[in-house]
Symmetry: C2
Subunit: 228 residues, 2 copies
Amino acid sequence: MALQLHVHRVSQPSRALVIFCKSNGIEFEEVFIDLTKKQHKSPEFLEINPMGQVPAMVHGDFKLFESHAILTYLVAAFPQVADNWYPSDIKQRAKVQSVLDWHHSNLRRGAVTYIFNSKLAPVFGMPLNLEAAAEGEKTLSASLSTLESFWLNDGGKFLVGQDKPSVADLSLVCELMQLEFLEEDVRKRILEPFKKVQQWIEDTKNATNPHFDEVHETLFQARATMMK
Amino acid sequence: MALQLHVHRVSQPSRALVIFCKSNGIEFEEVFIDLTKKQHKSPEFLEINPMGQVPAMVHGDFKLFESHAILTYLVAAFPQVADNWYPSDIKQRAKVQSVLDWHHSNLRRGAVTYIFNSKLAPVFGMPLNLEAAAEGEKTLSASLSTLESFWLNDGGKFLVGQDKPSVADLSLVCELMQLEFLEEDVRKRILEPFKKVQQWIEDTKNATNPHFDEVHETLFQARATMMK
């Protein structure tokens, strides 16, 4: 059954999916959805994901969106995926699932709100919103603090005490890579208090390279274009 | 192994857990966390859930929070749970998981933001915030529209085409029950355009009664106290 991932690599959950498949030897076709041409709002794409967002997956005739649901579906559909990615032990799996659920209203919400309103809005023809950015930064910093003191505090190099990464590490680190869109001094100021988080980002890169760096090339190019 | 649910029944995910266990004959101890006495911020409770939020679960010596993660853990831990709640078919399970993931940043975010800022804030000693409420109502209405036109549009009485409820139906309908905190005319205005959603709320109640109504008694009492 053919697997297609409809993605744009500036999108953090898109990158998580692509890196996941490459790291696990899952063959797939990467379908580039050009966000600058609004292809994610085209009738063809809305047939795949009516929410009009990347990423989306098509596996045979099965269509799916929401990146966490796609990641855990791929684990179930491709038996070669190693157990660390979404453990079969029901307690360890529940802990990974707990991070994935926590992510939505915490790290993701904080990072997206802060970066969009302090930096990216003009790229989409909208004004910066410093009040919303401040609110986002508060959520982002609180989430980083929770990562440092709780999620990364269970032994092991990765989330919830694992010594190898799970889908949660990949999803959350790809989210944090969006901080690359900020000025370097701002990014450093935000991450500086969180030593374990910084080490964990490096560990997750190392565990998934060369794919991690290759897939993030688009992000660095987009950043360079934006900074001009 | 003893199962404890640490909950308050005014909390929508707390109710979803209690109704789920009662509907599936899962024995548990309900530990009442008095939010009005800030018991969710007590050192004892923070040992169970460092985020200081209900619900939280303790099963033997295993502690877990995030209601969706708890629901799917309970499905795995209690084999008597019928397949409709979180289907073993990997595609159907992925569709249910997709709704659960979608919920966080859409229906939940919209409902919580709207209801808190238009009605509940003073109960917690905070002012109403009509701008935030308007933003919340926009997200809430868009989410109801997505439920009506997409998630409930796949045949079957329940979400993603099922003829029996899944954990997603329970989670989302318990969320919508928070609308009971609003004035009746406001609640009617918000739900009025969405006939399938209204029918689905009734169908989910019917599928889980008498537990659904019994567990929601606390909500109606809290509402009556607030309206005085």
